[in-house]
Symmetry: C2
Subunit: 399 residues, 2 copies
């Protein structure tokens, strides 16, 4: 039998996916599983987007432009203008989700063995994209005690080598919910200027900022227009993960013309998704106001509940819909599996994401879990109760 | 300004795309351009597929399973059964078009600098996927005089090195329309067994076989189940290029579990496209019968017209909707540009694809063009008339 690739063998398996069979078994036993492990929101997709699909009156489902439907990109530029981000349709390449956009960015600016610095914990799929592109992730540590703030500049500088091509931040952050401040972005600006690096900012949670805090985009940074690559997606903004519509944005013409060649090789992004995403730009502000209220209430339930549990702690994140919580446990992988295969409280349990999967440095995150607050407030309250009970009886508890 | 990647600089620009600005200028001058350069059929997408989208009644456009919607894959296995291809839903991973499926296949079985042998001329985007995956294409020559039949086995063997991991064939072929026979597939079977290679078969034109010829699939080959990877797509079958739904299929469990990790990293294929593609499986046979009649009539117009032109020749392909024609010209890139920027006949011209872009060996295909017969018979007749007139006056004609 012919062999498979080294790259293929290196591709990580998500620690969440390893838990799925255990969740299925729990459900088979009749246990209700609260899914706090996923990034799939329960919020309805805006009707205006779904209507565009229901009213599709084309005769042929054609390829779109490789960079995306022109009218969509023009409207998208208008959307960004509202967020004080000034770009044109030509600065945008639509990808099949932010996933493809990140891959385009990695491949356009980095060669095999080049390095990208990412504060950890970070979105686990960045590892997969890095292996896919043949590049290396250099993690630098952000601590739960600091609320996962940007690590000190000295830590970045220690990690920079001749192979370093980029710094990647997710803002607001998955998995931590951390919202980077204008000052932190300014620090990154100086860093990329000093070392002539790219700054890739994954801003797919832009709309989800709480407590009156404003999102500060990488595109607001002055004087590094040729260094900045913005990654975006409609998945979270409009609760439309399945549309597979994201984009990469840059003022750097050379980067964009290079990325376009990768985009042309795969012909075009999904047409139906783009049609829906174009219509979604008309989503009324009231939609986001309601969604924000809902997520804020959920965040508060989770943060308050966790911080009341003995030996548990989580910061109060200002963005996205995740928290990383520190729990009094020996090993989060073991704990998350135990929740599914050995625990139940009133025939209920919770599925969490072990934080180990979000750290690239082995051994980190062993007493941390990521909680996605993508369930309604009542279900969240109930799942926090279940978690509290679980921590009382978990054999590997550390207090 | 930070540098872009070597890989990015290596990505080829399609010779067809270089012509697009010239076509736009011709249209601005009021010249009607017959597009014989594209792979986008004009045939309507089946209504049953479009209805499924129009009737979408979900509330949230969710991620699907990373390997594709389970019910879709189950129905897809039924579709293949009709074609005497016996697989299960687990042997299928849905990709964003055949494009993504090919990339998954390349990455799962090949490491940087590994080699894949492809008979040339071949679909130009294979080059892009190869550069993307960091692998090398080793072309072997198939001649227009043989009708683009499979090159002699000795030519394959001469090209096999320790780096060779796979042979890739497109069957029926883009750009040549050639349909490989059962005997030719058998030859490939013996070859991959002898050298322990993968056989990747891109069969997206399966439905388009003429003159009573039957398609023989790589999945019909006995005893090499672990070597075979089938690439497929709904783009051509249902004239639904914009759905971006394709797949890779293999009985090799290790290949599939590896490919699934690449699929998981990008989360899921497009949901709307999959919903439409699932419904499309119900497309009545009468649809294909009509489409086949139509394409057959078109093929005959093109083949007969070309072969009547002085110094021109094209084989009669048994599949797909392309022909590669030899013309009495000095340089097909120059000729195709000249057609757009310097020629018109009764305010009309034609846009063709220079065949040079389908050859990997420099200098080949200089007197050949690819003609896609994706226009109706009347427009095709008219464009053949225009081409004939053009050949009479082209300054670089060789007769």
């Amino acid at each position: 039998m012919p062999s498979i690739s080294v790259k293929g063998r290196m591709m990580p398996e998500s620690p969440i996916r390893k838990l799925v069979p255990f969740a299925d078994l729990a459900k088979k036993r009749g246990v209700k599983v609260y899914h706090l492990n996923i990034g799939q929101p329960d919020i309805p997709t805006p009707e205006v987007a779904l209507d565009a699909i229901r009213n599709f009156n084309g005769k042929v489902v054609e390829y779109s432009h490789s960079a995306g439907i022109p009218s969509y990109r023009i409207k998208l530029a208008e959307y960004y203008k509202k967020h004080n981000i000034h770009i044109t349709a030509d600065d945008i390449i639509i990808g099949a989700g932010a996933s493809e956009a990140i891959l385009f960015a990695f491949q356009s600016i980095m060669d095999p063995d080049d390095e990208v610095i990412i504060p950890e914990p970070f979105y686990a799929n960045y590892n997969g994209f890095a292996i896919n592109a043949g590049i290396r992730v250099k993690p630098i540590f952000s601590s739960i005690e600091s609320g996962f703030a940007l690590p000190p500049i000295a830590d970045f500088e220690k990690s920079i080598t001749s192979k370093t091509k980029a710094i990647l931040v997710c803002n607001p952050n998955n998995p931590t919910g951390y919202l980077y401040s204008e000052e932190e972005l300014e620090t990154l600006r100086q860093l990329v200027l000093k070392y002539d690096l790219y700054l890739i900012a994954d801003e797919v949670y832009r709309e989800f900022c709480y407590d009156g805090h404003k999102h500060y985009s990488c595109m607001h940074l002055k004087g590094i227009e040729n260094n900045v690559i913005l990654i975006d997606s409609v998945s979270k903004r409009y609760s439309a993960c399945g549309m597979r519509v994201g984009c990469m944005i840059s003022k750097n013409k050379e980067v964009m013309s290079t990325a376009l060649k990768f985009a042309q090789a795969r012909l075009s992004p999904p047409s139906f998704g783009q049609i829906a995403a174009e219509a979604a730009i008309q989503t009324p502000d009231s939609y986001f106001e309601e969604v924000l209220q809902e997520y804020l209430a959920r965040r508060n339930v989770v943060v308050e509940s966790i911080n009341k549990m003995d030996g548990a702690f989580c910061p109060t994140p200002k963005g996205a819909f995740y928290v990383v919580a520190k729990l009094p446990i020996d090993d989060s992988d073991r704990f998350c599996q135990w929740l599914l295969d050995s625990f139940e409280f009133e025939m209920q349990t919770v599925m969490l994401a072990p934080a180990s999967g979000f750290y690239s440095t082995p051994g980190r995150g062993k007493d941390e879990v990521r909680i996605s607050y993508v369930l309604n407030v009542n279900d969240l309250k109930q799942s926090m109760k279940v978690l509290k009970e679980a921590l009382k009886v978990y054999p590997g508890r550390t207090i």
